[in-house]
């Protein structure tokens, strides 16, 4: 079978070897039809990796104490040996930047190249969420603009003042995304120009909001339209545009955090898919290298050892258990899709008639492009994967004394387990549904957020803290009302001032 000499036999890497491996892996990836951005592979030291870690993978970020905190934390863990450092970090940009650590062996470098430069890269380029929400071509420019702008603000207004706004924005980062409008990509130069315009314009018009006081309320029943006319889910956007007391530069800071939140929005929704896809492809690509005789048995053993470690799924009662491992679940699902195409069983034909026996490359490509974690699980989690992982669902209802096993990996439970696991990846299920419903324009200018309750789950203990941040940005009182599933409403939090739970 082996028609060619292996590319390398030792464990040391060199730049020539990295280029050779990249060329070979890239060639195979193209044969499999992977469509990628150009790659920019950067070799870095371990301390640079810690840097990259602590700035949530952004190649350049503005300065903020929380990144320092993450840095200190990562460094401490790394020094104590609690964690190995990043398997890889890859940035959704064009060209797609991947980091290789200089401490890695040649095998690990090849693994990371296959995983990041071809796996993640093709996912970034193909998946609809990334295509819709991020603009790989301009992100680096935008980050640079953000870093400069924030540094400028720090010079003008003091580090503390900027830090306070950033703290507040970070607290609301998850509520800074327009879920229904497609953002329009713009260049950094354009961004700077528009920023200056916005600054002047917004400040001139912001007070319009308050000018529309009703002429008179003589008959007591003036029907003033509520503001905002429709509930707003993008809290940061609303504050940026409507908070009466913010300075122009503060609005711009809010906007920067919002933009960056939006850039990360797809990543939070495609963890299983993204990691599963990259893992599936590094496994497939490196095995292909081996089949073509380009790598040695030793290489494969080292690769399989780390592949197995990454895709390990400890059972729920193990001390190592910390939830479902997205690498394990994703890899199992994509691998099973391929199996269903190549070696379908009767069960597959029953469950996935349109997939069983099909062309696995087409099927996988479709399963990568048009889904996010929630719909991906709902669509493709097969009975076999449920059985292999021995998945079971536990229902915890605080009205009942005991918790209950709702479904297990048996014929009557497959669908239920699949639904429940899918909803677990639904962002709406993980985060409270909060929307801005009202601004009291005629009274105390207070802002009301509505929490629409889902399965009676209340807001968490940090709500009061976050409300302080909303209050800081809004400048006037902030309330939270809850809309229960029964349809009743109640005021549950206020800032400033505490409200007893109704």
């Amino acid at each position: 079978m082996s028609t060619r000499e292996p590319i390398s036999t030792g464990s040391d890497w060199s730049f020539e070897l990295i280029e050779t491996y990249d060329r070979e892996i890239g060639a195979i990836a193209r044969e499999f039809g992977l469509d990628t951005y150009p790659n920019q592979i950067e070799v870095i030291r371990s301390d640079q990796m810690i840097d990259a870690y602590s700035s949530i993978g952004m190649p350049l970020g503005y300065n903020h104490w929380s990144y320092g905190k993450h840095f200190v934390e990562t460094q401490a863990h790394y020094k104590k040996g609690h964690m190995g450092l990043a398997y890889e970090i890859v940035i959704n940009s064009n060209p797609c930047i991947s980091y290789l650590m200089e401490e890695n062996t040649m095998t690990m470098q090849a693994l990371v190249i296959a995983h990041a430069c071809y796996g993640h890269n093709s996912f970034f380029k193909g998946n609809y969420l990334f295509r819709t929400w991020t603009d790989a071509g301009s992100i680096i420019d935008y980050l640079l603009f953000a870093k400069r702008y924030i540094a400028e603000c720090e010079q003008k207004h003091g580090v503390q003042a900027v830090e306070r706004v950033l703290d507040s924005c970070h607290a609301l980062m998850n509520y800074g995304v327009d879920r229904y409008k497609r953002p329009y990509p713009i260049s950094a130069e354009e961004e700077r120009r528009r920023q200056r315009e916005r600054e002047a314009y917004v400040q001139r018009n912001i007070n319009d909001l308050w000018r529309t006081l009703p002429v008179s309320a003589r008959d007591g029943e003036v029907h003033e339209p509520t503001f905002p006319a429709e509930p707003q889910e993008n809290i940061l956007y609303f504050l940026e545009k409507n908070a009466p007391l913010l300075e122009p530069w503060q609005r711009e800071v809010v906007r920067i955090v919002r933009k960056i939140a939006q850039y990360f929005y797809p990543q939070r929704q495609t963890q299983v898919m993204n990691e599963g896809w990259a893992t599936f492809w590094h496994y497939t690509l490196l095995n292909e290298l081996y089949d073509r005789g380009l790598v040695t048995d030793g290489f494969m053993l080292e690769f399989l050892a780390s592949h197995t470690a990454v895709t390990a799924q400890p059972p729920f009662d193990s001390r190592a258990y910390s939830g479902i491992n997205p690498y394990a679940l994703g890899f199992a699902m994509y691998s099973d899709l391929r199996r269903m195409c190549e070696h379908p069983t009767d069960e597959d034909r029953e469950w996935f008639p349109h997939i069983a026996g099909g062309d696995w490359r087409m099927v996988l490509d479709g399963a990568m492009r048009d889904f996010k974690d929630e719909s991906f699980v709902l669509q493709y989690l097969s009975p076999k994967v449920i059985r292999d992982l021995r998945l079971f669902a536990v229902r915890d209802d605080d009205r009942e004394e005991e918790i209950e096993v709702a479904a297990i990996h048996d014929p009557s439970g497959y669908r239920r387990v699949r639904e429940l696991l899918a909803s677990q990846y639904n962002l709406g299920d993980r985060e409270p549904n909060l929307q801005i419903v009202r601004v009291d324009r005629r009274g105390d200018r207070s802002l009301t957020l509505r929490h629409t309750e889902h399965k009676r789950r209340p807001l968490g203990p940090s709500t009061e803290e976050v409300l302080k941040h909303v209050h800081r940005l809004w400048g006037f009182p902030v309330h939270v009302e809850v809309l229960r599933e029964s349809g009743e409403k109640a005021l549950v939090h206020s800032c400033p001032g505490a409200v007893k739970a109704a």
């Binding site: 990295i18 280029e19 990249d22 150009p38 920019q40 592979i41 950067e42 070799v43 870095i44 301390d47 840097d51 602590s54 700035s55 300065n63 104490w65 929380s66 990144y67 320092g68 905190k69 840095f71 460094q75 200089e102 430069c117 607290a171 998850n174 509520y175 059972p315 729920f316 910390s322 992982l389 021995r390 998945l391 079971f392 536990v394 915890d396 605080d398 005991e402 918790i403 209950e404 096993v405 297990i408 990996h409 429940l420 696991l421 993980r430 985060e431 409270p432 909060l434 399965k455 009676r456 789950r457 209340p458 807001l459 968490g460 203990p461 940090s462 709500t463 803290e465 976050v466 941040h469």
Partner: protein, 422 residues
């Protein structure tokens, strides 16, 4: 299409700014940890970093989240014996349902307190933050070995090792141009003349010109390529470096009443002082003087660990300190600091003498003299005498009282805290 880029040489410490901001924000916690460390640590390992623990609640970055309660279903892997419909009690008091749920992993960290390490430098920075040496009339001086060489141009005289080749060749060239310029011009003219004579067939003229040319050539050749006077040497001058040096006198009572515990406390105090001085002065020397009825200069080991018994005559130590200053540490050259620790016992008739020696002999010579009394009992004559001294010399003399281990750092802080310019 791929590019491979080596970024290993890129700047280090990209996160340094963020780390500093983080430290700044949690300064209070860090300072508390540093103070605890001073109280807790063994005497010899003051100079290393420290782990700082910050409660999770103080450092969290809050986000909207869901709380406990309501109904939720979680899918777990690794089922062994459960069947659908099995019921069992809620683990751990019925919180939000089980151990590793999806949300916990989403938020990244649990409720553990946040721990991180300060480096040794940072530790000392926080330890001495806000402290300052009083009376910093640092004396500039020319001590031994405190010279540096500075480049001071070129000289025509020197040792071969310092030869400046470029300068020498430049000098040679300019000399050659200067000395041969006229001859070369004449040579050119003669050659042109010979050419003309040759064309005119004037053999006599040619011969005369050739003779002239030969003469001029010899003249040019006589000018040497390199001459002794072309040589240039780098000139380095020895410049005295203004350095400041300090000597610290540690005076301790080792009479029978001072037990090991009190000595330990004294030692901590001295150690802090020593580290503090070391940060301020390029050279810091320490003189240990212990005394009971007689004073003696000893080394560190003996100072802290040997025991003597007998009465106490404090003035003997002051006297010895004065002698040593006269002998070895001229106040013109040294910044002198004195620190005296005692349990307050003294031979009653001796205390007024101490007070007099201090005010007349020592205080004019020293930058600062600190007295710490380590005792749980009431003050005795020595404290009262020193109180009077402190009143008269508030600038250079201070006394403080230490009751227990925890007092040391606050007292130290008090003695050296930055004062508003009076």
């Amino acid at each position: 299409m791929s590019y491979v880029i080596d970024r290993r040489l890129n700047s280090k410490n990209k996160s340094a700014v963020n780390r500093q901001r983080f430290l700044e924000r949690y300064k209070k916690h860090i300072q508390r940890a540093v103070q605890d460390a001073v109280d807790r640590r063994s005497i010899t390992d003051m100079e290393r970093g420290e782990d700082v623990v910050i409660p999770a609640s103080d450092i969290s970055e809050p986000v909207f989240g869901l709380g406990a309660g309501g109904e939720r279903s979680i899918v777990h892997p690794g089922n062994r014996e459960f069947e659908a419909g099995d019921r069992f009690p809620r683990p751990k008091g019925g919180g939000g349902g089980g151990g590793g749920d999806g949300e916990a992993s989403n938020q990244g960290e649990g409720d553990d307190d946040f721990t991180f390490s300060l480096s040794q430098d940072e530790f000392l920075d926080y330890l001495f933050d806000g402290l300052e040496l009083p009376n910093l009339t640092k004396r500039r001086l020319k001590g031994d070995g405190s010279h540096k060489y500075v480049h001071a141009g070129y000289t025509t005289d020197g040792v071969p090792a310092k030869l400046s080749v470029v300068r020498s060749m430049r000098a040679a060239k300019s000399r050659r141009i200067a000395l041969t310029g006229t001859s070369k011009r004449a040579l050119k003219a003669a050659e042109a003349g010979r050419q003309k004579a040759e064309e005119a067939g004037d053999e006599l003229g040619v011969a005369r010109f050739e003779e002239e040319i030969a003469r001029l050539r010899r003249r040019v050749l006589r000018v040497p390529f390199l001459d002794q006077r072309d040589l240039r040497y780098n000139l380095h001058l020895k410049q005295p470096m203004p350095t400041s040096q300090a000597v610290m006198f540690c005076l301790m009572d080792v009479s029978g009443s001072m037990d090991q515990q009190i000595k330990d406390m004294a030692k901590r105090f001295y150690l802090l002082l020593y580290m503090f001085l070391k940060r301020h002065y390029a050279r810091t020397e320490v003189v240990f003087i212990r005394h009971h009825t007689v004073a003696k200069e000893v080394d560190e080991q003996e100072f802290f660990y040997s025991r003597e018994t007998g009465g106490t005559v404090v003035s003997s130590a002051l006297k010895l300190m004065h002698e040593i200053i006269q002998d070895r540490y001229s106040p013109n050259e040294w910044n002198i600091y004195g620190a005296q620790a005692s349990d307050g016992d003294n031979w009653n008739d001796d205390s007024p003498l101490c007070s007099r020696m201090l005010s007349e002999d020592l205080l004019p010579l020293v930058q600062y003299f600190a007295y710490v009394e380590i005792t749980r009992r009431t003050h005795q004559a020595l404290w009262r005498e020193y109180e009077a001294v402190a009143k008269r010399f508030p600038e250079v003399f201070a006394q403080q009282h230490i009751r227990e281990l925890g007092d040391i750092y606050p007292v130290f802080h008090e003695l050296f805290s930055r004062r508003e310019a009076a």
